[in-house]
């Protein structure tokens, strides 16, 4: 009984425990800092991201323009913060598309089985066997380069991984007795899928979606860098970087490409920290087997003995 309770305590904590890990705290605070800066920063700046200052073009960072200006005399800081909104919007929206499509198809494939499962799985294989960029570039050139097309392309090409994970989870869940019970009761399939199966997949979905945000942000940046994503005059971190395609800017005007590059790195790293912290919380962490450890660890440590004595 007492053991039961201690086990359950650990389980109930789950994600709540992840929130307290240093990794999660660092990641979450950096993400919130970036979000706050990008959302409220532009309101405080005197410049609109598209304002052209003809008197200072390609100016190095100075008191008026903290991060300098670009070739058209636009303020880099204003564009950086505005571009951040765009990058994050694309990242989150694309992942939303992925989660919706991936979860629905994965749950249906896993629950229905048979030809529906084969059909959906063959589709995911078709998506997965083509490399991302060639298809993304083709689609972008067919549909035109704008923000919603980027969201669509990244969402449309990226749902397969989540779909397979959800399917695998549902395959094992559908054999569990609480699902058998609802089937025996004669409840409709949609009820079972939504109320029982998808709800129980949420750790998988959450961890996967968090990590997918970083992939979506990077994909948006790459596409915009190639000129196929968010297009001028709108700013995004990717299309700000595209200026670094010129060797002159790359070598002599670092203020044009370091800030968006650094911003991408910070965002991706911190979101990854969150995702990693969450995924560690859901994967069981087993203590080492003594035999394969170095002999120095075979004896209990002083800390352990203290803990035993304190508890006794």
């Amino acid at each position: 009984m007492s053991e039961q309770q201690s086990v359950s305590k650990k389980k109930a904590v789950g994600f709540a425990a992840a929130v307290k890990t240093p990794m999660f705290i660092v990641g979450a605070s950096m993400v919130s800092l970036i979000v706050v800066l990008c959302v409220f920063g532009p309101l405080l700046l005197p410049y609109h991201p598209n304002d052209i200052d003809l008197k200072s073009m390609e100016a190095a960072p100075n008191a008026a323009h903290w991060l300098g200006t670009d070739a058209l005399g636009r303020d880099v800081l204003a564009r950086l913060l505005d571009g951040g909104r765009m990058s994050m919007l694309v990242g989150v929206a694309a992942v939303f598309v992925q989660v919706v499509v991936g979860t629905i198809l994965g749950a249906v494939a896993g629950y229905a089985g048979g030809w529906a499962d084969s059909f959906i799985m063959r589709i995911t294989e078709i998506f997965q066997c083509f490399p991302f960029y060639p298809i993304a570039i083709t689609l972008a050139s067919l549909l035109g380069a704008n923000i919603w097309n980027v969201v669509f392309i990244i969402g449309f090409l990226g749902w397969t991984g989540l779909c397979r994970l959800v399917r695998a989870e549902v395959l094992s869940l559908r054999e569990s007795e609480f699902v058998l019970y609802t089937r025996a009761l004669g409840l409709p399939a949609w009820h079972i899928i939504i109320k029982h199966l998808v709800r129980n997949c949420y750790p998988v979905i959450l961890v996967n979606a968090t990590l997918a945000v970083t992939w979506a942000v990077l994909s948006e940046a790459s596409m915009s860098f190639l000129g196929l994503g968010v297009s001028q005059p709108n700013s995004s971190w990717g299309n700000m970087l595209s200026q670094a395609q010129s060797l002159r800017i790359l070598s002599s005007e670092p203020w044009l490409w370091v800030p968006p590059g650094a911003a991408i790195i910070c965002l991706v790293l911190s979101v990854n920290f969150i995702g990693e912290a969450l995924s560690r919380a859901v994967t069981p962490n087993k203590p080492h087997i003594r035999d394969i450890d170095p002999p120095s660890t075979w004896k209990p440590t002083a800390k352990q003995t203290d803990a035993v004595q304190a508890g006794a």
Partner: protein, 570 residues
Amino acid sequence: MSDGKLENAETVLEVNHLAVTFTGKETVHAVRDFSFTVHKGEVVAIVGESGSGKSVSAMSLLGLLPRNAVVSGDVKLDGKPLDVSYLSPEIRKIRGRQVSMIFQDPLDSLDPVFTVGEQIAEAVRVNDPKADKATVTARVIDLLKSVELPEPDTLRRKYPHQLSGGQQQRILIAIALAGRPRILLADEPTTALDVTVQQGILDLLHQISRSEGVGVLIITHDMGVVADIADQVVVVRNGALVEAGETVRLFHYPQNDYTRELLDAVPKTPLLGGSLGSDHAAAVVSATGATSAPAPAASDEQPVLKVENLSVSYAPRTPDVVHGVSFDINHHEVLALVGESGSGKSTIVRCVLGLAQQTGGTVMVDGVEYLKQRRREQTKTRHKIGVIFQSPMGSLDPRQTLAQSIAEPLIYALGVPRGDALAKAEELMDRVHLTRDMATRYPSEISGGQRQRVSIARAIALNPELLIADEPTSALDVSVQKDVIALFRELQRDLGFACLFVSHDLPLVASFCHKVVVLQHGQEVEYGPVESVFVHPTTDYARKLILSAPLADPEVQHERRRLREQAATA
């Protein structure tokens, strides 16, 4: 019977004040101040419920626990002190040599890519690195013979999956014996096996302890197993010793309240104990003369569940796994489906629930063949059936609170408004003796017995006429099982539902059910009232099944063993 011999036998293992603590985020004292002694040629049983620390204490002797376990205590093996406080060189030396261990799940313990002969040879070579190939093979065959396996020379070339569970466990015992151990630790060695196979393994362990002079330490939760094989019993609870003593004494005069509780929790079965065990001849005679008596309930009443000539397969176009099974259940009646694993018990349940492919025969609930009805009427009939499944963890959705789980059938099957359904759920929780403050908890926050009560509350929510219970207590400890069965009985008396009770636990069935169907390989071997089937079984299989269910009575078990040995030599 052999107690006299053991009085002056030498001590093989002496454990004093053993303590195991798991450190980490929270400190857990799994074992504290645990002492016992094993003599040469003696079987000692450590018995306790789950979480009592019985497996942990055995594993701590071999240094098999993970790094966060801190072990202390005085252990003497063959009179020599053994330092168990860390992974000492002595511990590494005794593993597989002086002390061997076998585990619960035999298929899990064998490597699937090597033949069993190679795996035994590996153990032989570890103990005798210089042995040449012929010597090793000879020794492997000897070992296979000593665990009473037929045709050792062909058997050793087989892979684990080609053997039955009982044979696999014998292979593991052979591996354990390869190092000529002084002591054999057996952690629930028969729990994963069927009763008829279990008896063979227990006989083998008993025989090994006597003939090879190995001390056997068997860890179990089953009082029947203890009564069958143990010379000495050690009862543990929450990691501490409760009572220790000689088996017959302990069963008849338990000193401690907890021991008494454990023994009381075992279903009492006057039906199974006497006639078959002590009077083997009577059973044989009855085989010719017995008749299946009619059902005890009123006969002109329409049965709640009538199954006729039922055949089932797992999926369309696959061979049948259940062949022509017939039975019926009336109001207030409990019918048990018994049989070994693979006999088709759960498949029949699934078919009655419409979850498996019915290939022949009829299933009638309240006189209607509901599975052939259209969806809407079918759903109405489904609401007359309540279901309880085996696994206390798996049968509740981990993301629903207890009240939500119980209210689900009310809301979605009857269309009761949410608020009313949740209120009704709380009433049902009273009904199954759970406190109302648990309503908002999740399944992971309560114990196995409590979860099973929630399942029962959910099953009776729709006031079913038929309750189907698929091994509802087999994952529970005996004392918890006793309470759950008591609750079950109470509800059945009050609500009067007919019940289809699936179980492999014959003493439980004998104490609780009215009629019984004995199944073997999907065939109905025997069907009738419990009294007539259990006292006068008409088929060899039913008799074997009934005799191999170990009873928590050392005298009956000793008598049965004597008769078996007699039969073997004769």
